[in-house]
């Protein structure tokens, strides 16, 4: 028995040293993003002028994302500086929003946690969901050849997925340039059906009788809205994630979501009937 113990003692000691060393090294900070923010004492948040209820433009109720970011900044001991940029969401290509690392530490108010977004940013999901939804007067899908209005937002959902689905079903696509045009064509009957982003619904005034429906779940999964951070800012991301985790455990995140009515905002009637 003693000989067996001796035989494995040296290898066990060697392995234990290696494991302890690697474990200790895994706690090294991989970058200076958090340290830099702590040095300046400011956390910069970039948001569009309005994206209700995430950003409302109302100083008393500034929006879910802004209040959440303020709580995160407070937890990190930083002052939140909100940069409202009208360029956000103006174009489907985020490059044209011209958001730079110098302007923003976090981008919020309409960022979806999708593969498309994660190609450019690191994301921290918030409790709010988004995805493509159908808008129409009836839960039944229209016949082939019908016109479908599409109001694509800029949160980072896959537009090719929608265009492929519309093409496969033989519908004519009518791209809407604005929320007003989108609701207008639905109201007038110029389009028998509409497709838009769930996260943009709160900004729409739907005509009477028009309801929101879920698109087939197999093809159109729901995604979480998110805070977008620059790729490579690992230490800042970990700190923000930890702060949000604390808010979640304390129930503050749920209270904030309730106050902004995000449950009602996520409502849709039923899945569309083929």
């Amino acid at each position: 028995m003693r000989r067996v113990r001796n035989r494995w003692m040296q290898p066990a000691i060697n392995l234990a040293i290696v494991v302890a060393l690697l474990t200790a090294l895994s706690y090294l900070p991989p970058d200076t993003s958090l340290a830099d923010r702590q040095k300046t004492g400011v956390l910069k948040l970039c948001v569009p002028p309005s994206y209700p209820p995430l950003v409302t433009g109302d100083p008393n109720e500034p929006g879910f994302d802004i209040e959440l970011a303020a709580k995160v900044a407070a937890d990190l001991g930083l002052r939140l500086s909100v940069n409202t940029l009208s360029s956000i969401g103006k174009d489907f290509n985020p490059r044209n929003w011209a958001l730079t690392r110098a302007q923003c530490d976090i981008i919020a108010g309409g960022v979806a946690d999708t593969v498309q977004t994660r190609s450019f940013l690191q994301t921290i999901p918030t409790p709010i969901e988004t995805g493509w939804v159908g808008v129409g007067k009836s839960p039944e899908l229209p016949e082939a050849g019908a016109t479908v209005a599409v109001l694509a937002g800029s949160s980072g959902l896959d537009r090719l997925q929608v265009s492929g689905w519309l093409r496969r079903n033989g519908w004519r696509t009518m791209p809407a340039r604005s929320a007003l045009q989108f609701t207008g064509v639905l109201d007038s009957g110029a389009a028998s059906f509409g497709v838009t982003e769930r996260s943009g619904l709160a900004a729409l005034v739907l005509p009477a009788g028009v309801e929101v429906f879920a698109l087939p779940a197999a093809e159109f999964p729901q995604y979480r809205m998110a805070f977008g951070l620059w790729k490579g800012d690992q230490t800042l991301k970990r700190a923000v994630e930890a702060a949000i985790g604390k808010l979640e455990r304390s129930g503050e995140l749920a209270r904030l979501a309730d106050r902004y009515g995000t449950k009602g905002y996520q409502r849709f009637s039923q899945e569309l009937v083929p």
């Binding site: 690697l22 593969v115 190609s119 991301k237």
Partner: protein, 270 residues
């Protein structure tokens, strides 16, 4: 004691010898940790600023992960490659110092002796690959138990194939010095052309990829079996595949079976 039990005891003895030798050798363990430290902590962190975004919508590295996360599975494969292929040194050692001759005259079938040696080498290589998993926190890779189990299974199968490959190399190289040079000329080109440190965008066609990289490099990456091993591990660890997910697993299993069969033939000639 029946013959099966005797064979199993022999197999265990050969396996245990490899494990004991490897775990007592501090130099091997230092090699096992120096590679992940150099590649993840120094190269990964050093190059990170060049792959991060400065303007939203503008990155050179269009994959839904950070550079460290992308590099992480490749470093595991690198650690396995080095340990597995360097295992051939143990075969050359045994041959040079007569131990192999003593084992070969035992009643154990030759293929079983080889199986024990390859199992031992593969176990050590998997251990070296698993050491990198400890750095998952540093690379911001979140792992579930299921992911770790699946990754270990893939790592072991890959290690088995590469250890057999090491035995094939050992049969063709007669000296330690020769093998040292030869193994580096095999390992490093295989590693660098396995899409380990740069991505081939899965959304792009071959013609489009050739705009980013010269066509000869795309060709080398696509014919390199290690590319698919790295891809399979990326699929398990960070849920990202550049190629059809089944290919990686298929190629890893094919390498394990194919190289082991060739190694049996080579070993039988010794």
């Amino acid at each position: 004691m029946n013959r099966t039990m005797m064979a199993l005891r022999g197999l265990y003895g050969v396996w245990l010898r490899e494990i004991t030798r490897a775990t007592r050798d501090r130099a091997q363990l230092i090699g096992g940790i120096s590679r992940p430290l150099i590649w993840l902590l120094i190269l990964g962190v050093g190059l990170n600023p060049y792959f991060r975004g400065e303007v939203y919508g503008e990155v050179r590295f269009v994959i839904p992960f950070t550079y460290l996360q992308f590099l992480f599975p490749a470093v595991i494969v690198l650690n396995i490659m080095y340990t597995s292929i360097q295992f051939a040194v143990s075969v050359i050692w045994d041959r040079e110092f007569g131990f192999l001759r003593e084992v070969l005259v035992s009643p154990m079938p030759r293929w079983l002796i080889l199986f024990g040696k390859v199992l031992g080498g593969a176990t050590v290589a998997t251990l070296h690959g698993a050491l990198v998993l400890i750095l998952a926190r540093f690379a911001d890779v979140t792992l579930s138990l299921e992911q770790v189990a699946l990754a270990l299974a893939l790592m072991f199968t890959l290690a088995f194939g590469l250890t057999s490959f090491g035995v094939i190399l050992a049969a063709r190289v007669r000296s330690f010095e020769g093998f040292g040079v030869f193994s580096n000329t095999v390992i490093l080109p295989l590693y660098f052309t396995s899409s380990s440190i740069f991505p081939l965008d899965p959304a792009l066609t071959r013609a489009q990829q050739a705009v980013t990289y010269p066509e000869w490099l795309v060709f080398l990456v696509q014919i390199n079996p290690i590319t698919y091993a790295v891809d399979a591990l990326r699929g398990v660890l960070i849920n990202f595949n550049q190629f059809t997910p089944g290919w990686g697993i298929g190629i890893i299993v094919a390498m394990a079976v194919g190289f082991f069969l060739i190694a049996i033939i080579d070993f039988a000639r010794q």
